[in-house]
Symmetry: C2
């Protein structure tokens, strides 16, 4: 109908860019077929990294990339013999697999070499996800790497040996990352970029005339840093493909770049990120201010309203937003997409706080969660408030630093669980009980979600306390345990 | 706790801007109280329009603005005596009331003076909502106005007399609009703007020093037209209030304006709008191109994926987006907010089609619905395709104009219901059956959602047909009846 020939079971083996020909191997008939082209689009994709560890070729060790991979995994699970599964790598694919295997009744352990799951996120946000994953019965081991695999006499995997332990495993999923398939292109003299993927300009053209590259094998530009980036995603591939097709057929279209936008469902949580994490922003040399703000995804009185926890990252100098991470059971994707759009146009935090977003109780608070978060971050950028991230508070507690952690929630909330070593003065008593606090010490206020902590901050500042901070996101963003 | 005095049951009766004093009436003790101010913030809100019609003062005729209004309506419904209710005005409040009364088992009729409900929307999109409302058992009467109300011997309303009919009514809700409360301000010499609301600058300052106005009594700027606009909404009021508070306390903040963003739940439909409708854009003098595009709100294979129908409106000259209207059971609010953010930064249609929005199957298609819609509109703006809105096709059918309406769906789909008078050639047969079509006539292709119609358009153009269009949104956007 569309006059397109599709050759399946044919492998492209060589590109001759001078004679404009592609040699392909017919895998059924075992013979070569040479195809001429006017325009060539390379879309060779990427493939999973498989580490050369002892035992890696044992049965029931899978990667997940193709439909065939998925069918093999399903067959293995359907056999009913998988009691224990180990997932190597705590990224998006790893966590999606963890959820779905756990829902099939399998005991799942995720092993991650870094000190956090979900490497694109900051550790504080990733820890909220890790807590949720573990509450759903999945074991998560961080800062530990797989050393080898052991099997039985049938050649099937039975055990995963890590740096610290031995994990029983009837099945292993390797999800430690992918790498771009660039061999065919490189052999034809097509350049790759600093990221290792094929270098293209905004028209998706490679360094060779009439040759385009798109999708997971192609490099892109990060719109926040302006630097080359390789962030392979289906949504990007679809857009790149359209741009290349338009240009290859005589049109003129361009693809400006990406924001590293991601979203993943992990059990009941929606987890999203766009732009730079705080860690990435600092690495890029930005002077960073951030805020963690929990907020309802709908009006608080509307049924089914759920919390989301928003982390916004901004550049102190320009006051432009650099990125966002959002975690929660509520509508995360909407806020990620709002921020993706704002980042595309270089929005400042102030501009985000003034967006005319859609409001009705079934959809948002009268000030949408993202506007509230922008206001909180704006207050910090303007020096109106001084916050401290929960992760920093936890570090300081671990080091037994000398400061007052002040819980300003109600008596009942405090008794229900509070941070170890915290002092308790309910917000409504604070004005009259400031004499109980040592003015020479630093005071860090906290509550459930941060609003009362900020009020307490203001009351103490107005009462002449100099060294006050409030804890961003408070208990809702605290993943370091409570005591009763 | 916050050191704020709140005077309830006190009515502000006069402002003296020279002596900086407000006279208030203590309604309990029936005496005046004069309050001095350094800074004054006027937030007098708005009130419902009540037309001076015969019988307007009968019992059980309500407006819905305050909590007290809501309590009175609830009391009346709870009495169990309301069998028939008439809602005057088919705007957002009217439709929300229609839904909630219908869900209480009351027979509801909505009477609207205009030829469509939801006046901020274009008629074609509003008709999709009207169809849904009527399918849920609510009667909708358009192009008809209320002339008077009749009551029984107890003084309670029994009948609504319109220009064309008599409607039984045990209860009437007036929701024909609101007007800003500006009397207090005007009497003090505070200027109102062209919209009738209090004129303010971006700092929310009125023409009188140290006097601010915020919320439903204050005017704003429409960010697309740059002109004064009065679009009273809670979300805007909250932002204005914050800006005025910051400025009144020595800070410096500004509110740039609004986009008329709205969202409303009507039974199972989510209905949203942002920026200008096509009608409004034409009235403002823009040369307009628009597209109606149905698309899934999630990946098509993901459970619970639902259609949304997107109308995008753009300026032909600058290719900037001017507005969007979205209707559907799927996630409408997310796409409205993406467009609200894009409009704030003057985005072109092309820029929207390249946004790096969050993709995973539970959240979006790999190209989000809004990107698909921007691509379709982009094709029209570039002259690659020529579309025609369903409303225009319906008009031409009504006038029995001579053109071929070509249904390219499958045999089964065609037999399930098609537009009266249409010719049927399935898309996969079209290339070989073009001889059945009269080349001298205009051909308008349609399918279910528009994709196959656009393919058919391309096939016919490639086959040398000159006068071809495809129908935007096709059957999914067609609300004018089908025949089998």
């Amino acid at each position: 109908m569309h006059n397109i020939d599709v050759l399946t079971r044919h492998q492209a083996t060589a590109i001759d860019t001078r004679s404009k020909q592609v040699t392909t191997r017919d895998l059924e008939k075992n013979r070569d077929l040479t195809l001429g082209y006017d325009k060539l689009i390379i879309a060779t994709g990427a493939q999973p990294t498989v580490p050369p560890l002892p035992g890696i070729t044992l049965e029931n060790i899978f990667t997940l990339r193709t439909v065939n991979d998925a069918l093999k995994i399903k067959l293995c699970v359907d056999s009913g013999r998988v009691k224990n599964a180990v997932i190597v790598g705590g990224g998006l694919i790893g966590l999606e697999m963890a959820e779905n295997l756990a829902l099939r009744g399998i005991k799942v352990t995720v092993v991650e070499l870094l000190d956090q799951i979900l490497p694109p996120l900051d550790k504080d946000m990733a820890q909220l996800v890790q807590k949720h994953v573990m509450e759903n019965g999945v074991e998560v081991v961080t800062s530990d790497g797989v050393k080898s695999f052991e099997g039985n006499s049938d050649g099937a995997v039975t055990t995963v040996i890590t740096g610290r332990q031995q994990l029983p495993a009837d099945m292993v999923i390797l999800s430690i990352g992918i790498k771009p398939n660039t061999k065919l292109a490189q052999e034809a003299g097509i350049e790759t970029g600093t990221s290792g993927a094929i270098k293209v300009n905004k028209r998706m053209e490679t360094n060779i005339p009439d040759v385009y590259a798109v999708g997971d094998c192609a490099e892109s530009i990060h719109l926040v840093t302006g630097k080359p980036a390789w962030i392979p995603l289906g949504s990007t591939a679809a857009k790149m493909g359209r741009v290349a097709a338009i240009n290859a057929t005589g049109g003129n279209d361009s693809f400006q770049g990406v924001l590293g936008t991601l979203i993943v469902k992990v059990f009941e949580l929606n987890v999203g990120k766009v732009g730079l994490s705080e860690r990435e922003a600092m690495k890029e040399g930005f002077e960073v201010e951030s805020a963690i703000v929990p907020a309802g995804d709908k009006s608080h009185y509307y049924p089914e309203t759920k919390d989301i926890i928003i982390k916004l990252i901004a550049d102190k100098t320009t006051k432009k937003l650099l990125g966002a991470e959002i975690v929660g059971e509520g509508m995360v994707d909407k806020r990620i997409d709002i921020i993706a759009t704002a980042l595309t146009f270089g929005a400042t935090v102030d501009q985000i706080s003034k967006l005319d977003l859609a409001y009705a109780p079934p959809y948002a608070m009268s000030m949408d969660a993202i506007i509230v978060a922008a206001n909180v971050l704006g207050n910090k950028l303007e020096g109106k408030t001084v916050g401290i991230l929960p992760s920093k508070v936890a570090e300081r507690c671990d080091r037994s630093e000398d400061f007052v952690l002040l819980d300003v929630r109600t008596e009942m909330e405090y008794k229900g669980g509070h941070i170890k070593g915290s002092k308790h003065i309910p917000l409504d008593k604070l004005s009259s009980r400031t004499h109980e606090l040592d003015r020479s010490k630093e005071i860090v206020t906290y509550c459930r979600a941060g609003l009362r902590a900020a009020h307490a901050y203001r009351i103490l500042k107005n009462a002449g306390f100099h060294n006050v901070k409030y804890m961003d996101g408070s208990i809702l963003a605290w993943s370091y345990g409570l005591e009763k």
